[in-house]
């Protein structure tokens, strides 16, 4: 009774999660085990066929593509975002808030519009090609659009603020006296970074990586607009299966596969940060 009263405040949020996360999730899992008729309607007949199909090499390739895209996005955003976050945290307070404002600013504009921005920039008759041709540096437009790399750039651009903010938080929390202790004990700046800063910001890195990895798996309009469907990713495939293929059970099976990938990444994340958390709560 007492426990119930103490947790009463959590009930609304549990209902909220139950309605908006729990039920759709159960629905997706259930549908993934059902069949469909020729018109694309769901038929209440249990089958493992959908899962058999997603293990088909052609479809497995899609998983690999998506995993590669999400993983490389995580890597690219980390390599660019870590220095940005690190330098930002060293700025004086006024410049720091300006820098953080600039990092967050793009969020105020629709991500779809910003992706079209890349098309304008990178297209065959886009700004970059026009400038290069006007300068006579190239004779023909460079083929920058509709490649895997273009999708990667667009996705990384879209998600890098998550990485920067996550790393920034953990660099900012770092106790400055630990760095001083390291110098004092004879370590150079490089050694201090490798032996103290980097290990202590692993939770931020892992957090940022997870925050980038998860949406990168599912974003489909970026690969549509910038990748031109040259490489098929999970997001595009699910989108197509639902809207054009009218095969919702198969789409649901892919979704479950995607969720499993995310769970794997999150479990690696929590393992990486578990040992650290206790120590950092000093």
């Amino acid at each position: 009774m007492k426990a119930l009263r103490q947790n009463a405040l959590a009930i609304p949020i549990l209902i909220w999660f139950g309605l908006l996360v729990g039920i759709p999730l159960v629905y997706v899992v259930v549908v993934s085990f059902l069949s469909r008729d020729d018109l694309g309607n769901i038929v209440w007949q249990f089958t493992l066929d959908n899962y058999r199909r997603i293990l088909d090499p052609v479809y497995l390739r899609v998983f690999v593509n998506s995993f590669m895209l999400a993983f490389l996005t995580g890597l690219v955003t980390l390599l660019i975002g870590y220095p940005v976050a690190y330098i930002t945290s060293k700025l004086d307070p006024k410049r720091r808030s300006l820098a953080i404002g600039l990092i967050i600013l793009p969020f105020w504009i629709s991500s779809l519009l910003r992706t079209y921005g890349w098309v304008i920039l990178l297209g065959n008759w886009g700004i970059i090609n026009n400038v290069l041709m006007a300068l006579g540096l190239v004779d023909q437009p460079l083929q920058m659009m509709y490649r895997f790399g273009t999708t990667l750039v667009g996705t990384a651009y879209m998600l890098i603020p998550f990485m920067i903010i996550a790393v920034y938080n953990s660099v900012d929390k770092l106790d400055k006296s630990l760095l001083e202790a390291s110098y004092d004990l004879g370590a150079s700046k490089r050694q201090t970074f490798l032996r103290v800063v980097l290990p202590l910001t692993i939770p931020g890195i892992a957090g940022g990586f997870t925050l980038v990895f998860m949406p990168a798996l599912g974003l489909y309009f970026i690969s549509d607009l910038l990748g031109g469907g040259q490489t098929v990713f999970l997001g595009n495939l699910i989108h197509t299966l639902v809207n054009r293929g009218r095969n919702r059970p198969l789409a649901a099976a892919f979704s479950v596969g995607m969720i499993v990938m995310v769970i794997l990444v999150v479990s690696i994340y929590s393992r990486l940060t578990k040992n650290q958390k206790e120590g950092l709560l000093l």
């Binding site: 006296s177 630990l178 202790a181 004092d184 120590g279």
Partner: protein
Amino acid sequence: MKKPLLSLVNLNKYFGDFHVLRDISFDIEKGEFLTLLGPSGCGKTTLLRCISGLESIDSGDILLNGESIKDLAPNRRNVNTVFQNYALFPHLNVYDNICYGPRVKRTLTEEQLKEKVREALDLVQMSGYENRMPHQLSGGQRQRIAIARALINQPDILLLDEPLGALDLRLRKHMQAELLQLQKVTGTTFVYVTHDQDEALNMSDRIVVINQGEVQQLGTPLDIYNNPKNLFVAEFIGDRNILEVDVLEWAEGSAKVGLGSQVVQIGNGRHQLYAGERAVLAVHKDKMRISCTPVPNALVTEALSIHYAGSQIRIELAVVHETEAGRERITVILYQQGDCECRPGDTVWVSWDADGAVLLPLEPGWQGRVLV
């Protein structure tokens, strides 16, 4: 003459417009326990950080073994610091924390390290804790690991920044004794920062009293306690009654001063003063005596209140003047009742031991008079 281990030469430091350290000059001898003592914000920690290299200096020089180290980065100076919050690396266990210095400097093999760490842990009585993480240790234990981590580098000087500040009183007393022992055993030069005068008086070979970025006095604990060089030190160290007086006669070794209409002879003549000048008479509260009958060289006072506090008796008195206004308050601390059992309102004669009183020049703007 023996060369000092560390010399500070006209050291100045600014934070923006704020002059944090003003012309600091003194020497630190090899093997001594030197304390930087001062109120918070006086610059003592900044001075320590200048020595370790974590702060740069704006002018002056720092000589270690006769060579300037002022332009060396902290990792190139053979001094180590025990930080106020210990600053143990939270992601490393005790063993790896202690190994940090030798490992980054690559001075020892892992085999030699094992032996060294064992010795260091032995020294701070923490053997067997190699695999603990810092968050699994108590404050006192972290303190010891921080000391071991610094000492394994065999620094020329160990800098300690209020290392006992975060510990409770009992543990602090205990760690004081342990630190002293450690300093004796290792023979390392300790430079110790504190705002706690008891700590400073108890532990130090010499004390540097600092206020507002300036060295006020440098000397042995006894010297500082008994012969304060100026009003600040007299007020800051020990517990004194400080009375503003007129100098009536002054000669080397003896002076006659007046407090209102009362005149007393005192035996101290350390500071050159002139008849007619205003000065302050500072007397340790526990070096005063009271008498119920007139005695020579005593101030006539009226007893205000008597407090019994365990082993000591505190008696509050007011100096008797012709007028009621501006009667100075005097506190006397006795450890035995003696033969004068006064009650509030009684007239009491207060005298003091010759070595308990000092006559100092009055400083302009001094506002320390305690009136009833």
